[in-house]
Symmetry: C2
Subunit: 121 residues, 2 copies
DNA sequence: CTCATTACGTACATTTTTGTATGTATCACA
DNA sequence: TGTGATACATACAAAAATGTACGTAATGAG
């Protein structure tokens, strides 16, 4: 906003102003099941049915939908094996990996927040 | 899940299993306008109309709704001054502050992700 | 021949989120 | 007396997300 010469807080402000990337990131992980999927894949690839079992409450439809979105967002990779019965494996992509530590921080924050607010609210 | 003695990767798994906190955190920041509000408040308190001006596309209704939710989630504080015309200021709470750096990381990730995928997708 | 398994697809219903439009109280100022 | 500013509220509508129920192809096991 301010035109040209400014120092110290300017880097911060830059980031604040490029908020689209932030909103964008939240959209990418914002689905009801996406971060659960992400962290479940953090230990290595899993097939569809394994994911289904790990995330008990998700329906097949939702699991499929979220995986497809994550795939087209480039954070998971889908591999089909030509077998019968079918076998499909999902794994995190390198850029998806970079989300994992952030998710863990969110988890920590969530824990902290719960502990904090259970006393005050 | 596994009952008792396990070492190395166990801490990781613990975190992964406490995924509720993660989901919870995503819900807290998941509203369409919440992180924008958050980072706009990161430099100090703002009044309603100032927020409105900074986040141009938000409607008054949405701004109010999101602020109310953030208030009841304990990440922003609302202060009413008994003046006419009315004056209401919003500021981040200490625990809300702790979300800011995480949001910035998300922003960075978003930037990176865009740069990466614009070539490959 | 029948049944189970796997990884989905599809139609439809419900819920949640977001948006649009309009109204309101108070007071200062012209 | 009329107008503008502020920080909302409220009714209604549209859109997006999520859920429910059921179907499907291929094949090996019994």
């Amino acid at each position: 906003m301010s035109k040209i010469k400014e120092k110290s807080t300017n880097n911060q402000n830059r980031k604040f102003l490029s908020n689209c990337d932030m909103t964008y990131a939240v959209e990418v992980i914002g689905g009801r099941w996406k971060i659960l999927i992400l962290v479940n894949l953090a230990n290595g690839p899993l097939r569809y049915s394994e994911l289904k079992r790990k995330i008990e409450k998700v329906t097949e439809r939702m699991l499929t939908l979220q995986l497809r979105e994550m795939e087209s967002d480039g954070i998971v990779k889908r591999t089909v094996f030509a077998e019968v019965p079918p076998r499909v494996e999902y794994e995190i992509t390198p850029i998806g990996e970079k989300l994992v530590p952030i998710c863990l921080q969110l988890s920590d924050w969530g824990t902290l927040h719960r502990e904090t607010t259970k006393n005050s609210l």
